[in-house]
């Protein structure tokens, strides 16, 4: 108990003694992590948005015009039995024509001139959630296209592919920036801890002489790293939250984007906690790095 309170007090005293360095370390760590956070936030929001858009994707399965009604029922059976299909809506030739006329009243005479209805019957298919990724949509469409009685499978392929590409590149950039800036945060904290280690080298030597184990000697510095990392991370979240609110405010006042401000979201609490834990981990890693370099393990 006394030992624990000693260790806690030591790290507290370390941080208080180097108040300025500690503050600077927390601030720089916070700025560094906030840069990562911006990308993470962008990524999370784009993914959510992409998810909504993909949820709305409807796939048009056009039927062969020469298909007998029995065969249409057969195709319907087959589609309903498909694990990937969430819902199905049949649009007959007449309904298709009606819709066309309703949408393009001025052009309807074009079709009348043909004498017979040229529009094919179709099924509008919505896929189950686990089949809504761009790749899964593509695979499904290609498979169904080859089935008998089906003339054409259509969906907004270019658009979905483009979105997938954008998300993938943001993912890559976020990972790249995350790795580089995390390494920067580790270095910042490592340097701060090294200053403490240097200031206390005599004390460390004394602790070694009187039989303190390496882990005992390390604990206050690991704690210091953990606190610096966690505080830096928490502060970066606060800064992000502030920027996020500012951004939303801005959107609301600009009439054009009104309403859109409700669609962008901040990290949920669980993710915030996870990010603070990650910051703590980076801080502990920083401590380890500086203790390795300082060579305090030597007798």
């Amino acid at each position: 108990m006394r030992t624990l309170s000693y260790l806690l007090r030591e790290s507290w005293v370390n941080m208080r003694t180097n108040r300025t360095t500690t503050m600077v370390a927390i601030l720089t760590t916070a700025f560094t992590l906030a840069c990562v956070g911006v990308f993470l936030l962008l990524y999370v929001n784009l993914r959510t948005a992409a998810g909504w858009l993909q949820d709305d994707v409807k796939i048009m399965v056009y039927l062969d015009d020469r298909l007998a009604p029995d065969s249409v029922a057969e195709v319907e059976q087959r589609l309903r039995g498909d694990r990937a299909v969430a819902s199905l809506l049949f649009i007959s030739k007449e309904q298709a024509l009606g819709e066309f006329k309703a949408q393009f009243p001025s052009e309807s005479h074009l079709l009348e001139g043909l004498g017979q209805n040229p529009l094919p019957a179709s099924f509008v298919v919505a896929l189950s959630p686990s089949f809504r990724s761009p790749d899964a949509i593509k695979r499904w469409a290609e498979r169904v296209r080859q089935d008998s009685g089906i003339s054409k499978v259509d969906y907004n392929q270019d658009w979905i592919d483009a979105l997938a590409t954008v998300i993938r590149s943001i993912e890559l950039v976020a990972i790249g920036i995350g790795v580089i800036l995390s390494a920067a945060a580790v270095t910042i904290i490592a340097n701060t801890i090294r200053l403490t280690l240097f200031a206390r080298r005599d004390e460390i030597a004394i602790l070694r002489l009187i039989g303190a184990t390496t882990s005992f000697i390390r604990i206050p510095y690991l704690l210091e790293g953990a606190v610096l990392g966690a505080l830096g991370s928490a502060l970066s979240l606060a800064m992000l939250k502030f920027m996020y609110e500012l951004f939303r405010q801005q959107m609301r006042t600009m009439g054009r984007f009104a309403g859109l401000d409700n669609l962008i979201a901040f990290f949920p609490p669980s993710v915030c906690l996870a990010l603070i834990a990650v910051g703590m981990g980076l801080g502990v890693a920083g401590s380890f790095v500086s203790m390795r370099r300082f060579g305090e393990a030597k007798a």
Partner: protein, 222 residues
């Protein structure tokens, strides 16, 4: 208790210890003498695993410290108390906290720490300074606090490297008397010094090093 067998140590071409062999039994009081640079500190550092010999074997308390793993070194040091010329007290901690440190790092309970530290401070006669900072003490008192810290654990061996180097003759004899008392209670004591005054006070074994070699043994004149 302490055994050296053909121990040699070299620091970039310079021989610090050369083929040193001796044995110190349990409960002995031994002086390690020799001029500056003779290798006394090097020898003591080897006994606590802070330095390794190039050749030979060293045993302390039945433990071969030549092959000791780094993770075992702290446990060796809990059995071997050390006192230095430059005291090595923590300047921002009270006398009590300084002496408590060896117990603290072992996770000893608060009650035991209080009891043992009080005992150790009483044994060296600085009980009344327990709440002061080291800087507020005289050099003699500071050395006593160091000795208290070295014995608070109840070590089997007490090693002192030039413990009277910063003290005047009167204080020197006080500290030597203190070592004799500690030795009388069963602790093996090894004092390294180049101060002839110390030898005048102790009628015990004297091991003399000269340029890393052990000279024929004799007894102190005390």
């Amino acid at each position: 208790m302490i055994q050296l067998i053909h121990v040699s140590k070299q620091y970039d071409q310079r021989l610090a210890l050369s083929d040193v062999t001796f044995e110190i039994g349990k409960g002995e009081f031994v002086l390690l003498m020799g001029p500056s640079g003779a290798g006394k500190s090097t020898l003591l550092r080897m006994l606590i695993g802070a330095e390794r010999p190039d050749e030979g074997q060293i045993f302390v308390h039945q433990k071969n410290v030549t092959t000791i793993r780094p993770s075992e070194v702290p446990y060796l040091r809990r059995k071997v108390g050390t006192v230095f010329q430059d005291f090595r007290l923590l300047p921002k901690k009270s006398v009590f906290d300084n002496v408590a440190l060896p117990l603290l790092v072992q996770g000893v309970s608060s009650a035991d720490i209080r009891r043992k530290v009080t005992e150790a401070l009483r044994a060296v006669g600085v009980e009344h300074k327990r709440d002061q900072l080291p800087a507020g003490l005289s050099t003699g008192e500071q050395q006593r606090v160091c000795i208290a810290r070295a014995i608070v654990n109840g070590p089997v061996v007490l090693l002192a490297d030039e413990p009277t180097g910063n003290l005047d003759p009167a204080l020197t004899s006080e500290i030597i008397e203190l070592f004799k008392l500690i030795n009388a209670r069963g602790t093996t004591v090894v004092v390294a010094t180049h101060d002839p005054l110390v030898m005048m006070q102790v009628n015990r074994r004297v091991l003399t090093l000269s340029q890393g070699r052990l000279l024929p043994e004799h007894r102190g004149l005390g």
